[in-house]
Amino acid sequence: MAVPAAKQRLSVPFDYDKYLRPGKLPHIWCPGCGHGIVLKSLLRAIDKIGWEKDNLCMVSGIGCSSRTTGYVDCNTVHSLHGRAFAFATGIKFSKPELNTIVISGDGDAMAIGGNHFIHLCRRNIDITVLVYSNAIYGMTGGQYSPTTPAGSYATTSRYGNIEPPFDPCEMAKAAGATFVARSTAYHTKELEKILLQALEHKGTSVVDIIDSCPIYYGRMNKFKSASHMMNGLEKDGTITVAQAAKLTPEEIGGRQLRGILHQAERPEYCENYDNIIVKQATATKGA
């Protein structure tokens, strides 16, 4: 009996090994952490866009998210805490033809690297930024970060966080990024599609990925398990832009929007720079 085409597709597993460094797995991420799911979505998106590994550069900072570059078999730079954006700017600027991705976390991108993050967005340099947002410093033991919701608990906020959080998407939009989106580790297929669009976008694209840290954030905030946390924060805690359009603000409540939140056309930085060179060179020639 012939197998239906749809089933045939399902039966062929995606070959992640093609994009992973041999001998590097298992990864260091804790059981229940969504970083591995995010990585898989990213690898599928990279496969779809068809970028050659040798023509791909992945830059990360420091933190759990930033361990990603150790596993992916392309050009990778594991840089300094918060500085991946600046490292990547240098790389992209010197080799604009290199497809460049920054892997960062909420602590890395919003706290110690906040300054570099906004200037990357402002320049609209053609780099895709993934912010693995788990609202905590996981690697150092669960300190609250700039995306930790007010009132929630961390090792440094035993009576609830009194600081209001940043919204990485609003920040990216305000700073000038031309593609801003949000998804979650739970919505792995949707995430893959959004990441593909982000990679295809010319200019700075930022994808905020809501992810769970069951070990620190989960334990301290009464999430019984990793799946409980994924359901609560990622599935029930979010809503698509399309769904939200049909609802009143009251009905949306505290849920975060998923999908493409902002898209704009603006000259890309490397192209702009090249244009100046061409213009000046032509002017000099003419003179």
């Binding site: 110690i112 690697m139 090792t155 035993r158």
Partner: protein, 410 residues
């Protein structure tokens, strides 16, 4: 926790727990910090003390180490007693502000869990972080054990705030080896601790609105050098203050601290100069060789900045051969910083000993008794031949060994 003086209890504590406890007992006014391995647990435990109301400290969870040290400077300039803890890249990110702290003569106390600097990224012990900051105008105290790290915190406060000094102090302990190892510690009582550190009253304070001051104003060609001269004089005076505070600490608590530790050095012919936890390992080798009748010893600097040059020269002058072991390479092409300093110190000594430098244990590479014994073997053979074979060399390391990048170490 108040422990009677005559009935001292021991506690099993990690280096970081002991440091956090000492900081709790000091009860500073402000504690800005950012987490970094391996010093994070100092901050973590201290923040628990804050949460539990065990201290009166304002704890600030800042967004980077640059901000942590900047907040320290701000708070200290406003007249507060300030502390923080960091490691490695954290200290590196504080770099710019370290010079501000010392230049403004602010008695900040920092605890550094010594960790290697990137690149490549490594979270384990070596001294490249604090050694890179050795010219930043801070006083450097290196601790061999958990007990010493604990005791140094109290003494650091007194040294920093001494009117003759008024300079920041960093207390260094070896990352993981000391920060995370549990050792027996004899703590001092809370009241005794408070009595020892006393109350801090800043001479000039931004918060003293009746006597307004400006901090960090521009000082060009003429005045700049005056400030630097004063700073230079102050750090020189720190040496006597370290001795004085150490004596008082010994009188009160029975544990002796000087500028450095001399171990079986009196009649020694050869000796190793080494910092921090590795000195403990080396002492085992010293004992073993002494049992075999070899005249070997050890000198472990505790105060590294300011460098107690005259005292080190005095302690080493009778020796025939000295080996300086650095847990960092200054990348000058001429050995580690300890080697360079000690070699320079010996220049004035009559019939000065031969000296060689060895670089060991970078990025947490193990340093064992056998490694110390090998150094002593070299020292003893140099004593026989009267000639140093190799001035500078990497040890605990085989340059010919294949590098496994897929191993657990990467």
């Amino acid at each position: 926790m108040a422990i009677a003086r005559n009935k001292r209890e021991q506690m099993g504590l990690t280096g970081n727990s002991a440091v956090a406890m000492a900081m709790k007992q000091v009860n500073p006014d402000v504690f800005p910090a950012y987490p970094i391995t391996p010093s994070t647990t100092v901050v973590e435990e201290f923040s628990s003390y804050v949460a539990d109301g065990a201290v009166d400290t304002e704890f600030i969870a800042v967004e980077s180490e640059h901000s942590a040290m900047s907040a320290c400077v701000g708070a200290a300039a406003a007249g507060a007693r300030v502390m923080t803890a960091t490691s490695s890249q954290g200290l590196a990110l504080m770099w710019e502000v370290l010079y501000i702290a010392s230049g403004l003569r602010l008695p900040i106390v920092l605890c550094d869990g010594n960790r290697a600097l990137s690149s490549p990224i490594n979270i384990h012990c070596d001294h490249s972080d604090t050694m890179g900051a050795r010219d930043s105008g801070w006083i450097h105290l290196y601790s061999e054990t958990v007990q010493e790290a604990y005791d140094n915190i109290f003494q650091a406060v007194r040294i920093a705030e001494h009117p003759d000094v008024m300079l920041p102090v960093m207390v260094c302990l070896d990352g993981f080896i000391t920060t995370h190892a549990i050792e027996n510690v004899t703590p001092i009582g809370d009241e005794e601790a408070q009595e020892f550190v006393g109350e801090y009253k800043a001479k000039n304070s931004l918060l003293d609105t009746d006597n307004p001051v400006t901090v960090g104003a521009m000082a060009l060609q003429e005045p700049y050098m005056v400030f630097k001269y004063q700073q230079s004089e102050a750090i020189k005076k720190a040496k006597d203050v370290v001795i004085e505070v150490g004596k008082e600490f010994e009188e009160k608590f029975g544990r002796e601290y000087g500028l450095f530790e001399s171990y079986r050095l009196e009649d020694a012919e050869v000796a190793v100069v080494i910092l921090s936890s590795a000195a403990g390992t080396t002492k085992v080798a010293v004992d073993e060789l002494r049992a075999r009748g070899k005249k070997v010893g050890l000198l472990r600097p505790r105060l590294f900045r300011p460098l107690p040059h005259a005292e080190i020269a005095e302690a080493l002058k009778g020796l025939k051969v000295v080996a300086c072991l650095d847990r960092t390479d200054s990348m000058s092409g001429f050995g580690g910083p300890l080697f360079n300093d000690v070699r320079s110190v010996l220049y004035e000594v009559e019939n000065r000993p031969l000296i060689f430098g060895r670089i060991f244990g970078l990025g947490g590479r193990d340093y064992q008794v056998k490694d110390a014994l090998a150094v002593f073997e070299e020292l003893l053979s140099t004593l026989e031949t009267g000639k140093v074979d190799e001035l500078i060399k990497y040890i605990t390391f085989d340059p010919e060994a294949p590098l496994s990048v897929d191993g657990s170490g990467c």
